[in-house]
Amino acid sequence: MLKRLIYLLLLIVAPLLAFSNDAGPAMFKKGNNLYQKANYKDAAAAYQKMVDDGYQSAGLYFNLGNAYYKTGDIAPALLYYEKAHRLSPGDEDIRVNIQFANSKTTDKIEAVPEFFITKWWTGFILAFPASTLAVFSVLLFIGASGLLILYRFSGAVIVKKISFYSAILLLLPGIGTIFISGRQAAYFDAHHDGIIFNSSVNVKNAPSGTAKNGFVLHEGTKVSILDKNASWIKIKLANGNEGWVGAADVREI
C-alpha cells in the first residue's frame, strides 16, 4: 500500500519537474544576466523570444515586464505584468510593479470603489495560483483516499478511527481548493482585460469608423474587454465609461 502511494506521488510530481532542464531555462538565465548588466533591451528580446516560443511562467512574464519597463515601453510592460499577475495573483512583487508602471501612464482613471467584502473575496480566491491549488487538491484527494482505504482494511479500531477522521480532514480542504481554483478560473473568464497599445486612441460610441469619439485613451491604460468582433473591441474603463476601439489598439492580457 505504501509503495503504491509513493508511486502515485512520483506520478504527480514528475510532470511538474519535467521541464527543469531544457532550452527554456537556459534562455531565462541568459535574460537574467543581461538584465543584471542593465542591458535591458537585449534582456527583453531574450525573454520575448521565450514567450514567443510558448514558454510561460509568472516569473518569465514578470521579468519581461521589468525589462520593458526599464526600456521605457510602458504598454508592453503592463501587458506582461498583468499576464504574470494572472498566473500568480498573490505575488506582491508583481502588484508593486504594476503600480509603478501605472504611475507612468497618462490616463488617471478613478476606479469605482469596490464593496469591501467583494474585495476581500477577490483577494482570497486570487491569493494562490491555480496550478498550485490544483497540485494541492490532487495531493489532498489522494491522501484522503489512501486513508479511507486504510480505514476499510485495517483491523484495529484505533487505526480505523484515526484514518477515518484524518481522511475527512484532508477531504474538506481538498474540496475547498478545487472550489477556489474553479472560482479563480471563472473570475479570469469573466474579467477579460486589455492594455491600450497606441499612444492615443479615440474611443468611439459605436463600432464604426464614422461614429463619434466618446473619449480619448492613451498608451498603457488597462481596460476591461466586454465584447469583440473582427475589427472592434468593446471596452469598459474602471470608472464605468464604455466605448469601442479598433482591435489593433488593444492587446488582451
Binding site: L60, A130, S131, I142
Partner: protein, 612 residues
C-alpha cells in the same frame, strides 16, 4: 513836345517794371530732412502787400502752430517796401518724402504762388541717440584729423559700416558657455540708429553681459582691419548656453542707421574750409548668421548624480551648528563655486533625516557675466528644524559636472554632518506628515527586481490546472478507494465459506508435497519420495473432497469422486497410484520408475482440478 511825352511815358513804364520786378512770393523751410516727431518751420514770404493768402495742404504733417503772421515795413529814400511772412510749425507724422505744395496769394489783383518744397522725413532720433551721434561725430573728426582719410566718398556702405556677430567658439557641448558679441564697425558719421530686429537665440539659454561701469554709455575704440581703421563698439554681448545638440543657427541682427553723408559744395573755397552741406541717408545693416555646432555630452562615464553642470565647479557644504535643541533652526548651506552654467543648475535634492522639517532653499547668486563667461558662486541655504532629540546624520551630497578642460566627468562629494539634537523644552509630538513620507518613499523606490527562479517555466499553454492529467490524478484517489471497496467485498465473499476455501487451496498444498517429493527424487531417497507423493495425493483429496483425515480410505475416496461425476478410468488410475505409493513406502516396486509415478500423480491432480 512830342518827345517829352514819350520820355514821360517811358519813365512811367519803367517804374511799373521796377515795381513789378520787386514783388516776390517765396516759400522756405528751416530744414529739408527732418526726423519724425521733430519740429520744423515753413515760412511763406511776400515782399508786398498781399491779400487772400491760401496755405497749401500740409499732407503728412501736423500743424503745431500757425499761421504766425509777421509784417514789416521799411522806407528807404522815400520808397517804402513792406513784407509779410506766414509761418507754420510742422511735425511730420511718418517717414518718407513729402512735398509741401504751393501757397497762393493775390497782389494787386494778380495771383502769385510759391514753388513746392520737398521734405524728407526720416525716423526720429531720440535725444540720447542724438547725443551719441554727436559724440560719434567728434570721434569721427578725430580720426579724420589723424589719418586724413575723408569718409563718405565711397558709396559702398558695406565696407564702411557693418555689424559683425562674433562667437568665441563655434563648437560646443550642451551646457558649455560661449560668448556672442555684436560689434559695430563704422567709418562714417552716424546720426542715429535703431534696432529693427534682434536675433532669435532659439536653442540657447541666453544671458546678456552688462557693462560693469556704465551700462548706457557707448564705448568706442579704434580697430584696424586690413589697414583700414574703424571705430568699433559692442552693441550687445550675450553668454549663450546651448540647450540641445545639433547645428543651431543664430539669425542675423538687423539695425537701421542714419548716415550723414557730406555733399561737396560747388564752391571749392567753401569746400576747402570744411563747408558744404550734407545728406542724411538711412541704411539697413544686417549681421551675418552664425552656426554653432552643438555636441551632446558623452554618455560613457556619466555619473548618476550628473544633472547638466558643464564647466568647472567645486561644491562645499556647511552647517551653522552641530549641537542644538529640538525645534531650533539649523542652517545647511551648499555652496557651488566655479565657472560654467551656474544659473542653469537644477536645485540639488539633499536627503535630510525624516524627523527634520525642511523648507525650500534660499538661493543666493553672486554670478558675474563677462566676456570670459559666467562665473561666481551660488549658495543654497536650507532651513531645517529638527523636531525630535537624537543623533542625526546629514548625508554627503554627490555632485558631478563635465569638465571641459579634461573632457571627463568629475564627481565630487561633500562631507556629511552629524547633528546632535538635544531634547527641546517643548518637544511636540508632531511626527512627519504621512504624505511627505510617502513622497520620499516613492522617489527613492524603483520597480522590484526580476525573479531569478525559472523552475516553474513550462511550455503548456493551459498550465496544470484544467489539464487532462489534473482531472485524471484528481479522480485517481476516489477511483482507488472505490476499487478497494469492490476488492474487499469480493475478497470477503470468497473467504466466507471455509470448505470452498479448503478445496480451492487443495491444489496448492498438493503442489507443495509434490515439490518436496521431487527434491527427494533427485536425492534418490526413495521411501521418503513415495511418502511425499502419497501424502500429497491424500492431503489433496482430503481437502478437495472435504473428507476428514480419519475417514480417508480407498472406498470413501472412490464414492466421493463418483459422486462428483469423475469418470471411472481416472478414479481407478488414482486408486492404483495410491496403492502403489502406499506399497512403495515399505518395499521396493518394480515395473515402474519413480519419475513415472511422479508424473502420474501430477497428471492426476491436474485432471481432478480440471474436472471438479
Amino acid at each position: 513836345m512830342k518827345l517829352k511825352y514819350y520820355i514821360l511815358l517811358l519813365l512811367l513804364f519803367c517804374t511799373t517794371v521796377l515795381f513789378a520786378q520787386g514783388v516776390k512770393f517765396t516759400a522756405s523751410v528751416n530744414k529739408t530732412e527732418v526726423g519724425t516727431t521733430e519740429q520744423f518751420e515753413v515760412t511763406f514770404t511776400i515782399n508786398s502787400n498781399g491779400e487772400r493768402f491760401v496755405p497749401p495742404n500740409f499732407n503728412g504733417f501736423l500743424i503745431v502752430s500757425g499761421p504766425n503772421v509777421s509784417q514789416s515795413m521799411t522806407v528807404i529814400n522815400g520808397a517804402s517796401s513792406s513784407s509779410s511772412g506766414y509761418s507754420y510749425d510742422l511735425v511730420p507724422v511718418k517717414e518718407g518724402i513729402y512735398t509741401i505744395g504751393p501757397a497762393t496769394i493775390v497782389v494787386n489783383g494778380k495771383q502769385l504762388s510759391t514753388s513746392p518744397i520737398k521734405i524728407k522725413v526720416v525716423k526720429g532720433a531720440s535725444a540720447a541717440q542724438a547725443n551719441a551721434a554727436r559724440q560719434q561725430q567728434q570721434q569721427q573728426q578725430q580720426v579724420q584729423g589723424q589719418q586724413g582719410i575723408v569718409a563718405g566718398h565711397s558709396k559702398d556702405i558695406n565696407r564702411d559700416l557693418f555689424i559683425r556677430a562674433d562667437v568665441n567658439k563655434t563648437n560646443a557641448y550642451i551646457g558649455e558657455q560661449l560668448t556672442l558679441s555684436y560689434r559695430l564697425y563704422t567709418r562714417v558719421a552716424l546720426v542715429g540708429s535703431e534696432l529693427e530686429k534682434m536675433s532669435d537665440q532659439n536653442g540657447f539659454y541666453s544671458q546678456e553681459i552688462k557693462s560693469a561701469n556704465n551700462p548706457t554709455a557707448v564705448q568706442w575704440r579704434i580697430e584696424t582691419i586690413k589697414g583700414i581703421k574703424y571705430n568699433v563698439t559692442e552693441i550687445k554681448q550675450n553668454i549663450l548656453f546651448p540647450e540641445r545638440a545639433g547645428n543651431i543657427t543664430i539669425d542675423p541682427m538687423i539695425m537701421d542707421f542714419i548716415v550723414r553723408e557730406t555733399v561737396p559744395s560747388a564752391d571749392p573755397f567753401d569746400n576747402f574750409f570744411g563747408g558744404g552741406s550734407y545728406n542724411d541717408v538711412k541704411y539697413k545693416i544686417k549681421s551675418s548668421p552664425v552656426v554653432i555646432h552643438v555636441k551632446p555630452l558623452p554618455e560613457s562615464g556619466k555619473p548618476a548624480s550628473f544633472s547638466g553642470a558643464v564647466g568647472r565647479f567645486s561644491v562645499t557644504t556647511s552647517v551653522d551648528k552641530t549641537d542644538l535643541k529640538a525645534n531650533e533652526p539649523l542652517n545647511y548651506k551648499i555652496t557651488l563655486k566655479g565657472k560654467g552654467n551656474l544659473k542653469l543648475l537644477k536645485p540639488m535634492a539633499p536627503e535630510f533625516p525624516l524627523d527634520f522639517d525642511k523648507y525650500d532653499p534660499k538661493v543666493t547668486d553672486t554670478i558675474t557675466d563677462n566676456e570670459n563667461g559666467e562665473s561666481g558662486t551660488r549658495v543654497y541655504t536650507y532651513l531645517l528644524i529638527p523636531r525630535h532629540g537624537g543623533k542625526f546624520n546629514i548625508d554627503p551630497i554627490k555632485f558631478s559636472y563635465y569638465d571641459l578642460a579634461t573632457g571627463r566627468y568629475v564627481s565630487q562629494q561633500t562631507k556629511g554632518f552629524t547633528i546632535n539634537v538635544a531634547k527641546g523644552a517643548t518637544e511636540n509630538n508632531v511626527t512627519s506628515i504621512g504624505a511627505d513620507k510617502q513622497d520620499v518613499k516613492l522617489l527613492n523606490k524603483d520597480i522590484r527586481y526580476i525573479k531569478t527562479d525559472g523552475s516553474d517555466i513550462s511550455k503548456d499553454d493551459e498550465g496544470f490546472y484544467g489539464s487532462g492529467l489534473y482531472y485524471f490524478l484528481l479522480l485517481l484517489g476516489p477511483l482507488a478507494f472505490a476499487g478497494a471497496l469492490v476488492f474487499g467485498k469480493v475478497y470477503e465473499m470468497n473467504n466466507s465459506d471455509a470448505v470452498k476455501v479448503k478445496s480451492r487451496k487443495a491444489g496448492k498444498i498438493a503442489a507443495k508435497h509434490l515439490a518436496s517429493a521431487k527434491a527427494q527424487l533427485t536425492a534418490n531417497n526413495k521411501p521418503v519420495f513415495y511418502e511425499n507423493v502419497f501424502k500429497g495425493l491424500y492431503g489433496y483429496l482430503s481437502d478437495k473432497l472435504n473428507i476428514a483425515a480419519a475417514d480417508l480410505n480407498r472406498e470413501k475416496i472412490a464414492t466421493e469422486l463418483k459422486a462428483r461425476q469423475l469418470d471411472e478410468p481416472t478414479i481407478n488410475e488414482l486408486l492404483e497410484t495410491l496403492d502403489l505409493c502406499d506399497m512403495a513406502r515399505f518395499a521396493p516396486v518394480s515395473g515402474i520408475s519413480e519419475q513415472e509415478v511422479f508424473e502420474k500423480a501430477k497428471n492426476m491432480i491436474n485432471n481432478i482440478e480440471d474436472k471438479i
